[in-house]
């Protein structure tokens, strides 16, 4: 439901402004209006100005902004570890912290940059690690000699090995050795051993054939191939140790100073939020005025708090809400415990305007009924209740899952209720098992009566929506629109009565008076809504027929249950039959959860809500402390 809001003015002496703003922020129940439109009367505008900060406030604001920037930089260098919250007041020691911050920033910046350099080097070395790890076993049988040279390469295509071997034989005859092994990244690492005389020639040839030789960084210069492997391993260990050391230093710094800087940052944020709020304050020579919105239920609470804290020097007045205020009033939605889970469905809709309706109670009332009407099987309802209760118990902490389970439990109760009305318990199994008979209608055979029933539900639902639209128009005092909506409702009723009398559902005598009513209503409709108004009526008739889906989707569910039971019977074996029926019923239940949900929602979003809910509301955003992370 949309919470009733009040338009308020907080006024007091200028010297108390900062303390009042601080109190308002702590209570967190007032949204400050930055503009004076609709709050300051025309005759008072000459005496009231926007608040302009003095020189001291301005320099404090600039100092705090710069301070915050530096703390943000320092915190960005620190690891994200959970640190306990600090509750001291940094105001008295802010100068000392400012000096320490400069020193700490230099230390942490240095550590962080060193860490980045080492990580970069480690990433580069890891490229060689893959290759060298693959060729290391190949070197085991080789003896290093000053006459031999080793050429490392990576072959991306395994077929290239034969081509390479042929090319090497062509260049060096039998005076070479090529060894290959699979690298962990899926490539093939190769190692060519040749006499030093041949080495340059082979390297050139490889380059011509676009087979890149494994080049090592300049820091590896002067080392033999085997030494390179040793150096690489040593350097990797060194870097890892250095990184551990830096991480340890940063962790320890964070544990020691993180809490203090985090608290200072929070304090600066609080101070800056006060400075920002002053931009929405209005002043005379002696007084300040803060305008805004709060929930009507909170007005007394706020007034008492101001009285208690400022001994009557600061007053809160409730102002009259003008018609032009309605469009910019913020919206708070608040629902009782039964309706609350259904906010899961309305959260995806845009916020309604203050003068409109919260869709949650409507969806909470009608959704479970439609779900029950569509699925309508007592056995399925019991099964869904049990499953959703188990899931609810297991995932109670996850809000969306818990809400979905609560909705399913409510919807399943209606499913059981309609199941008894339709005489369905796992299809006609209830009839076979304990002689369950339909109380209201047998859906499988009575297709047309069920169609009439579904469309009748549509008539009631669409007319309720249209009537609420009419009430909204009356509240908004838009007379012409209200008449249009009323004519719209009357014309729908007249057309439906005409159709019903033509189909023999209403007495034939009604036909003439109804035609006469249509002839009277239509010109009024055209006059109030223009030439396109009758199209809206046709759209509404289409909306009503759309409710036939309640019957259609329900019928598929009944028939699938019927098929499941008959297939099970046809097997002639109790075990196979139970398995077949169980699987088909399970499939039907899964479809039966999704399909009725989607179609019931669609009936609300498309057919029902567009008759009366006006989107475009503004969310209530009170002036309050930021939440601690």
């Amino acid at each position: 439901m949309i919470v009733r809001m009040s338009k308020v003015e907080v006024a007091g002496p200028r010297e108390l402004l900062e303390k009042v703003l601080s109190l308002l922020r702590d209570t967190g129940i007032l949204e400050i209006e930055p503009t004076s439109i609709g709050f300051i009367k025309k005759m008072d505008r000459a005496y009231i100005d926007s608040y302009l900060p003095d020189k001291n406030s301005l320099s404090e604001k600039l100092f705090l902004e710069d301070f915050k920037e530096r703390i943000d930089e320092l915190l960005s260098y620190l690891p994200r570890i959970v640190i306990r919250g600090g509750y001291f007041q940094p105001q008295a020691i802010i100068d000392t912290i400012n000096e320490t911050l400069q020193k700490h920033l230099l230390i942490c910046r240095g550590l962080y940059r060193k860490k980045e350099e080492l990580q970069k080097e480690l990433t580069e070395l890891s490229r060689y690690n893959i290759f060298l790890d693959a060729v290391e076993p190949l070197l085991a049988g080789l003896k290093e000699s000053s006459n031999l040279d080793f050429i490392g390469l990576t072959l991306k295509d395994p077929d290239a090995e034969d081509l390479l071997r042929r090319a090497l034989t062509h260049l060096a005859g039998e005076r070479y050795e090529l060894m290959t092994s699979n690298a962990p990244d899926g490539t093939r690492a190769g190692l060519i051993t040749v006499h030093k005389n041949m080495s340059d020639r082979i390297k050139r040839a490889l380059s011509d054939k676009n087979i890149p030789e494994m080049k090592f960084p300049s820091t590896f210069g002067g080392l033999t191939f085997v030494e390179k492997i040793g150096f690489l391993k040593k350097r990797t260990t060194e870097i890892s140790d250095e990184l551990d050391m830096i991480n340890m230093q940063l962790d320890s710094f964070s544990m020691k100073w993180g809490t203090i800087y985090q608290r200072v940052k929070e304090w600066i944020d609080e101070r800056l939020s006060l400075f920002r709020a002053t931009a929405s304050v209005f002043v005379t020579r002696m007084c300040f005025f803060i305008y805004g919105w709060t929930a009507s239920d909170d007005v007394m609470k706020l007034r008492e708090q101001l009285n208690d804290n400022f001994k009557g020097k600061v007053v809160l007045d409730e102002l009259d809400i003008e018609e032009e205020d309605l469009d910019r009033m913020p919206v708070i939605l608040k629902n009782p415990a039964y309706f609350k889970p259904f906010e899961l469905f309305t959260r995806i809709l845009p916020l309604p305007r203050y003068t409109s309706y919260d869709p949650t109670p409507f969806i909470a009332i009608f959704f479970p009924v439609f779900f029950g009407m569509i699925l309508g099987d007592a056995g399925y309802g019991l099964f869904i209740i049990m499953v959703s209760f188990i899931i609810f118990r297991k995932f109670r902490a996850k809000r969306n899952v818990a809400d979905a389970c609560r909705i399913l439990m409510a919807a399943s109760l209606y499913c059981i209720f309609f199941g008894i009305l339709y005489g369905e318990f796992f299809g006609e199994f209830g009839h076979t098992l304990f002689g369950l008979e339909p109380v209201f209608i047998e859906r499988r055979t009575a297709v047309i009566p069920m169609l009439y029933f579904a469309v009748s539900v549509g008539v009631v639902h669409v007319l309720i929506g249209s009537f609420l639209g009419f009430i909204t128009a009356v509240h908004r005092k838009t007379g012409k629109e209200a008449v249009l909506k009323l004519m719209h409702i009357l014309l729908i009723i007249a057309i439906l009565s005409l159709v019903a009398s033509l189909f023999g559902l209403f007495p034939a005598l009604m036909t003439k008076p109804v035609i006469l009513a249509i002839l009277i209503i239509t010109p009024v409709l055209l006059f109030t809504g223009g030439l396109l108004a009758p199209l809206e009526v046709i759209k509404s008739i289409g909306n009503i027929i759309s409710y036939a889906r309640i019957m259609a989707i329900g019928l598929t569910s009944v028939l699938l249950a019927y098929v499941a039971n008959h297939l099970a019977g046809m097997t002639g074996d109790i075990i196979i039959g139970t398995v077949v029926a169980g699987l088909l019923h399970l499939l039907n239940i899964i479809i039966g959860i999704f399909s009725p949900t989607i179609h019931s929602l669609r009936l609300h979003y498309v057919e029902f809500f567009n008759k009366f809910i006006e989107a475009g509301g503004r969310k209530f955003e009170p002036f309050k402390k930021e939440k601690r992370i």
């Binding site: 289409g542 759309s546 259609a552 989607i598 669609r602 498309v606």
Partner: protein, 73 residues
């Protein structure tokens, strides 16, 4: 008499089948666009499910007409 039955069944099949094809075509377009939207804004998943269900009105209306033909309303 038999030809009348055949024609009635054929008319009901057409009333059901053609909107079913139209619904399938519309849902394929909405589904493809919805999948693209979901890649960028996963929070719109519920809205997209509803949007995909909207063209089903056509097949529901087709079903109603087919029922009326078959049951002689």
């Amino acid at each position: 008499m038999n030809l009348e039955k055949v024609l009635t069944a054929f008319a009901a099949a057409l009333a059901m089948g053609l909107p079913a094809l139209a619904t399938a075509w519309a849902q394929s377009k909405i589904g493809a666009a919805g999948a693209g939207t979901l890649a960028e804004k996963p929070e719109l998943s519920a809205t997209i499910i509803v949007l995909v269900a909207i063209p089903e009105t056509m097949v529901i209306l087709g079903f109603v007409v087919a029922s009326m033909i078959l049951f002689g309303v």
